[in-house]
């Protein structure tokens, strides 16, 4: 396992960053959609929706960068993985359509607001479930035949992929709840704070279950985690998860507003690092490495020039957009 900084490795890191940015940013948007039915119609639902209305589109764009980047940097992996996960990906795209338009449609059509609220929640839950299933189905490995997918159309559906699907729903709801702790006040904040506690416990528990099962899937996962001396490094990840969990519950109990969200992001970050340890250097687990799947250097260099210049600029103005809409939703005094 070499960590030399060659072009495919750099691109694997960039795409991993894009996927992570998507998971945490659209994660709390989707989480709000998942939790939507627990909010009272009217003021509570409106503020939950408004807390992400100005930023959801930018958040979802990371999904396009993740997918487009995979096609550009690792076209072979893109060509194998997407047909392998055909059903969950198509379902995710359709679900995200309902979720996305609901942001606008519910304001335009008060007579059918209840319908678009159901579309918002349904789209968020099904979209998240499909993303989690996609992850699990990839982790458990896909059949490869030459330069193509070689398996059947229901291969993705297993107890493990359902487990990762449900885990992601709980995890996104957790992110959404902690985001709303930061963005709301009063009764609603008390409500989401209670939810954040339960969902935090659920998320950490499910991280534990998925982590316990993963090394026993086929593939090099067991090796990657437990081979000496790597285990000295990899063991830090569960340790940090434990510390993060303790800090999270402490900050929640003490009534902090920002820390629960930041620590939830931290827990997601650690899970993501764990995922990286499991998969590296494969992009299709057990079948195709990042070097086998990489596009020619002339493609990777051309894009790298753009990414080095543009991604920091993107992060800067994305940060600006968040800053403009900072503070409690629907409250004055943050100009």
């Amino acid at each position: 396992m070499s960590l030399a900084l060659d072009l495919p490795t750099i691109w694997a890191c960039i795409i991993a960053f894009a996927v992570f940015a998507y998971v945490v940013m659209d994660g709390f948007d989707l989480g709000i959609g998942i939790l939507f039915p627990t909010f009272k119609p009217g003021r509570e639902r409106d503020s939950a929706m408004n807390s992400v209305a100005p930023v959801w589109d930018g958040n979802e764009t990371w999904l396009v960068l993740g997918g487009g980047g995979l096609m550009a940097a690792f076209p072979l992996a893109y060509a194998i993985i997407l047909p392998a996960l055909y059903a969950p990906i198509i379902i995710m795209l359709l679900a995200l359509i309902f979720r996305g338009v609901a942001f606008e449609f519910r304001w335009r059509d008060p007579d059918h607001r209840a319908f678009w609220d159901v579309a918002f929640t349904g789209g968020s839950i099904i979209g998240t479930l499909a993303q989690g299933i996609t992850l699990g189905a990839l982790l458990q490995g896909v059949a490869v035949d030459g330069r193509q997918y070689g398996g059947g159309w229901w291969d993705w559906l297993t107890p493990f992929s359902l487990l990762t699907g449900v885990s992601l729903v709980v995890g996104y709801a957790f992110l959404g709840a902690t985001w709303l702790v930061m963005k709301t006040e009063g009764d609603m904040q008390a409500h989401v704070r209670r939810l954040a506690g339960w969902l935090g416990a659920g998320t950490v528990g499910l991280i534990g279950v998925v982590s316990a099962v993963t090394p026993f899937l086929k593939g090099a996962y067991y090796e990657n985690w437990f081979a000496w001396p790597n285990v000295l490094l990899t063991a830090q990840v569960p340790l940090l998860v434990l510390i993060g969990t303790v800090l999270f519950f402490r900050s929640l109990r003490r009534g902090h507003e920002r820390w629960p969200f930041l620590l939830a992001l931290g827990l997601f970050g650690l899970s993501f690092i764990g995922l990286g340890i499991s998969m590296f250097p494969y992009v299709v687990p057990g079948a195709v490495t990042i070097w086998q799947a990489a596009a020619p250097d002339s493609s990777l260099i051309f894009m790298l020039v753009g990414a080095v210049v543009l991604v920091p600029i993107i992060l800067a103005y994305t940060g600006y957009a968040y800053w403009v809409f900072r503070g409690k939703v629907g409250q004055e005094g943050y100009h």
């Binding site: 003021r43 409106d46 209305a53 100005p54 589109d57 979802e60 764009t61 999904l63 396009v64 997918g67 487009g68 980047g69 096609m71 550009a72 940097a73 076209p75 893109y78 060509a79 993985i81 997407l82 047909p83 055909y86 059903a87 990906i89 198509i90 795209l93 995200l96 359509i97 309902f98 996305g100 338009v101 942001f103 606008e104 449609f105 304001w107 335009r108 059509d109 008060p110 330069r147 193509q148 997918y149 159309w153 020619p296 002339s298 493609s299 051309f302 894009m303 753009g306 990414a307 543009l310 991604v311 993107i314 103005y317 994305t318 600006y320 957009a321 403009v324 809409f325 629907g330 004055e332």
Partner: protein, 473 residues
């Protein structure tokens, strides 16, 4: 074998359906974003309230159209992999980076500033808000730049070598980006988007002028829209002609299909105005034609020889009936746009722009013409380059993912149902917004009776408040 063919055709139908639906929204939002930037600039310059009201009027429509464009666009970026995986593997090293640049330079720019543009006026003030509007407008153009470069490369590929894995490996990025058909396609498409928007804005203005010819907002939008149609329609016809000559050079079979030229004409080809192409027999039945006119248009010489599809192997023929008719629909609508522009100039000279109901009715009927023309144009160019995805090099039949027909049939059915439910609702909401006459004190997205929370606690900036008081009095 039969299963393979039907899975392929289902995948083609799915791509055609989803991309056609998708393109309706950018075709409108590219032009509308620029129009909003112009309106806001005019408001900042003149402080004339009517521009701000129009800005807010069209902003609500833009928000809906843009959201539908975003959600239908994400589908497209994944469909290359789900349904055209072999194409993605082979052409990904070239198409992928072009699309990655589109995401990094355009999508983030649009999405990042869209929130400020829609909801941020009272938070950042008018000047910074204008910067956000401009960023969104520029973003839509940059997006068109990259995606049309990618499409054009598939039509006129160059600047690559084939590597050992059978992939198109980029050798010269400038040659790839600025491939031969790209400048023509870019100009033709962006002008088409501007015309589409102008026709919609003109139709909405006309509708309200027919009801009340004194409405100041309706007058301004009708005036601006007709001005753009009068200027852009003739330029577009010229640009389309240039694009056609470029296609003749690089994709002659496409032009043969557009013209209905199954046979070669060694001494001057006729311009077939109408007819019924018979692909099996390889001839156009019941044709009405002008002798030698096609050679005159395409070669600027009535006696120049023009090759027909009889010089092309039959397995490389595009579907002539589709291309022949879609091309005529596009050109016919272009001529009607030219007529509308000319009529509006006449009305302007005679001081009847706001007072001629016939002009308003004509503009109203022409409202959807841009969308139809744009889609007909895309059908012409995309069906006309068949049977290839990368022209002359990679056949469509060899590009598809190894999917079973039932899987693609199920997803196609799901797309059709979801798109009709979601996008007909969205189009209905847009039409509802358009049916309200623009008026003084037009609510924006962050205020208004139906969304109380967005107004909660946010007081308009002093300048805006002052301006709206001035308008109300």
């Amino acid at each position: 074998m039969f299963d393979d063919i039907s899975a392929l055709n289902l995948a083609r139908a799915q791509f055609a359906f989803t991309v056609s639906f998708h393109f309706i929204f950018p075709a409108f939002s590219i032009g509308l974003a620029s129009y909003l930037a112009v309106l806001e600039a005019l408001w900042l310059r003149t402080k004339n309230e009517v521009y701000l009201n129009l800005f807010k009027y069209w902003l609500k429509i833009f928000a809906l159209a843009f959201a539908m464009g975003v959600v239908s666009g994400i589908t497209m970026s994944y469909q290359f992999g789900t349904n055209w995986s072999v194409f993605s593997d082979k052409a990904g090293p070239i198409i992928g980076p072009l699309m990655a640049y589109e995401v990094m330079t355009a999508f983030f720019l649009e999405a990042g500033f869209l929130g400020v543009m829609l909801f941020g006026m009272n938070r950042v003030g008018p000047k910074l808000h204008f910067v956000a509007t401009l960023a969104v407008a520029v973003g839509t153009f940059i997006s068109a730049f990259w995606i049309l470069s990618a499409n054009s490369w598939m039509q006129t590929p160059q600047g690559f070598t084939m590597n050992a894995a059978g992939q198109f490996a980029p050798a010269d990025w400038l040659a790839i980006i600025f491939n031969p058909s790209f400048p023509y396609r870019l100009v033709h498409t962006v002008l088409g988007a501007y015309l589409t928007t102008a026709l919609v804005v003109g139709a909405v203005g006309a509708w309200h002028l027919l009801k009340d010819r004194t409405n100041p907002g309706a007058r301004v939008m009708f005036n601006m829209a007709m001005g753009l149609v009068a200027v852009a329609a003739p330029i577009q016809i010229f640009a389309g002609d240039m694009h056609g000559l470029n296609t003749l050079e690089h994709q002659p079979a496409k032009v043969m299909a557009m013209e209905g030229h199954y046979q070669s004409h060694p001494d001057g080809a006729p311009l077939i105005l109408f007819g019924i192409p018979d692909q099996k027999a390889g001839e156009v039945r019941a044709q009405i034609a002008i002798p030698k006119a096609s050679s005159l248009i395409l070669k600027h010489d009535p006696n120049a020889p023009l090759a027909g599809l009889d010089t092309v192997p039959r397995e490389d023929w595009p579907s002539v009936p589709v291309v022949f008719w879609s091309f005529r629909i596009m050109v016919g609508l272009g001529m009607l746009m030219l007529a509308l522009g000319a009529f509006s100039v006449l009305a302007r000279v005679r001081r009847g722009l706001y007072d001629w109901p016939l002009l308003h009715r004509f503009a109203l009927v022409m409202g959807p013409a841009g969308f139809v023309a744009v889609l007909a144009g895309w059908v012409t160019t995309e069906v006309g380059r068949q049977p290839f995805t990368v022209y002359g090099l990679l056949r469509t039949a060899h590009s598809a993912a190894p999917l079973d027909a039932p899987a693609v049939a199920a997803s196609l059915l799901a797309f059709v149902i979801v798109y009709f439910v979601v996008f007909s609702a969205g189009t209905g909401y847009i039409l509802k917004l358009m049916s309200h006459a623009p008026h003084a004190g037009e609510p924006g997205l962050e205020q208004g009776p139906d969304h109380p929370v967005r107004t909660a606690g946010i007081t308009p900036a002093p300048g805006i408040q002052h301006a709206s008081e001035g308008d109300a009095s």
